[in-house]
């Protein structure tokens, strides 16, 4: 099952769903995060199933909605991807193969080249604060198995605001194996990043994220089971 959180993505959602069907060959569920445009209608027209949230709860909350529904349906594997067309659906199979084969519980799609100077600094700081060394910790392009889905449907996961380092810390604490898989990503087709937009938003995001990372940092040296792949 492919879960796509979407907020006002009418311009791209149709193409993203069509590509996801073609390359991932899985049912596609769009979680409409209280959009005020035609995102829901475009998603339905493209053949996706839609979960409509009554109001906006943020990208991570929307993603978790999809995960909770997948858990309820007893789905074994889920791929999460963005609705803005940045994630190349052709990479979905690589991510999925990693978790289906049992090599990891979570496959984290990474694309370091997308990192602007500011983003790279942010990633480095997140790594230092959390003690976790991930190449692209803010990537929402992930595949996960039932164990990871269950871990991410917990109330503790509902306390998180973003699908970045907080989610990774939660997965590591649940002793799940995370594998970083290089994937292809495209430039954003419309709109702009909700986080890396203005300095004020970036500052607020970083303060919250770094505080969370420091607060949740594991005191014991207990590095996660983590693999890095070099093939896309």
């Amino acid at each position: 099952m492919v879960v796509i959180p979407a907020f006002n993505e009418e311009a791209t959602i149709g193409d993203v769903i069509t590509s996801a069907f073609r390359h991932a060959d899985l049912p596609v569920w769009v979680v409409d995060d209280g959009s005020t445009d035609l995102t829901k209608e475009r998603a339905l027209t493209a053949g996706a199933r839609v979960l409509s949230l009554p109001f906006q709860i943020g990208a991570w909350g929307a993603t978790q909605t999809g995960l909770r529904y997948a858990h309820k349906l007893g789905v074994d594997f889920v791929i999460t991807m963005d609705a803005d067309g940045q994630h190349d659906p052709m990479s979905a199979k690589h991510l999925l193969e990693t978790v289906v084969s049992g090599k990891a519980d979570v496959a984290l799609g990474t694309f370091e080249a997308r990192g602007s100077g500011l983003r790279r600094v942010a990633w480095k700081m997140m790594g230092l604060a959390s003690g976790l060394d991930f190449r692209d910790p803010t990537s929402g392009y992930r595949a996960m198995n039932a164990s990871a889905i269950k871990a991410l449907t917990s109330s503790a996961a509902s306390m998180l605001d973003h699908q970045d380092i907080g989610v990774l810390i939660l997965l590591v604490r649940a002793r799940l194996r995370i594998s970083e898989i290089p994937v292809n990503m495209f430039p954003r087709k419309s709109g702009q990043s909700r986080i890396f937009s203005t300095w004020r938003v970036v500052f607020s995001y970083m303060i919250h994220t770094l505080s969370l990372a420091l607060a949740k940092r594991q005191l014991r040296r207990n590095q996660p089971s983590k693999q890095r792949n070099t093939l896309a």
């Binding site: 979960l51 409509s52 949230l53 009554p54 909350g61 909605t65 529904y69 309820k72 509902s158």
Partner: protein
């Protein structure tokens, strides 16, 4: 003068509390907490010597410092408890919204299935 202000404030606060509880604007559990605060103000107003005596025991030279420090500590604890409650409510609210979205989807599926069954019978 400070005694008069404390007494007046305590009396006003107790009246506001009573009004809010009677009009269902404040839950009784919170009312009890604020009732304790009112009692503290009443103590400060009616028995100012009490704080001075405790302050002397604690080697605090200026008695009102103890009252102010205790008030600040109580306010900080109350603010923290409020934030904890707010966090809990936020999680509950979010999970409720998620549940609603899931149930709506289930309902739509159920309606479609019922419509199909009805049309095949017809």
């Amino acid at each position: 003068m400070i005694q008069a202000v404390a007494t007046l404030f305590g009396l006003s606060l107790s009246l506001v509390l009573l009004f809010l509880i009677r009009r269902d604007r404040l839950h009784i559990s919170h009312g009890v907490t604020w009732g304790v605060a009112v009692l503290c103000f009443a103590l400060l107003g009616f028995a100012p010597g009490l704080f001075d005596a405790i302050a002397r025991e604690l080697n605090i030279i200026y008695g009102p410092t103890l009252a102010i420090s205790l008030a600040i500590a109580a306010l900080v604890i109350k603010a923290l408890l409020l934030d904890i409650e707010c966090s809990k409510l936020r999680v509950k609210n979010q999970r409720l919204a998620q549940k609603l979205a899931m149930l709506e989807s289930d309902l739509a599926d159920h309606r479609n299935a019922t419509n199909k069954a009805t049309s095949s019978l017809g």
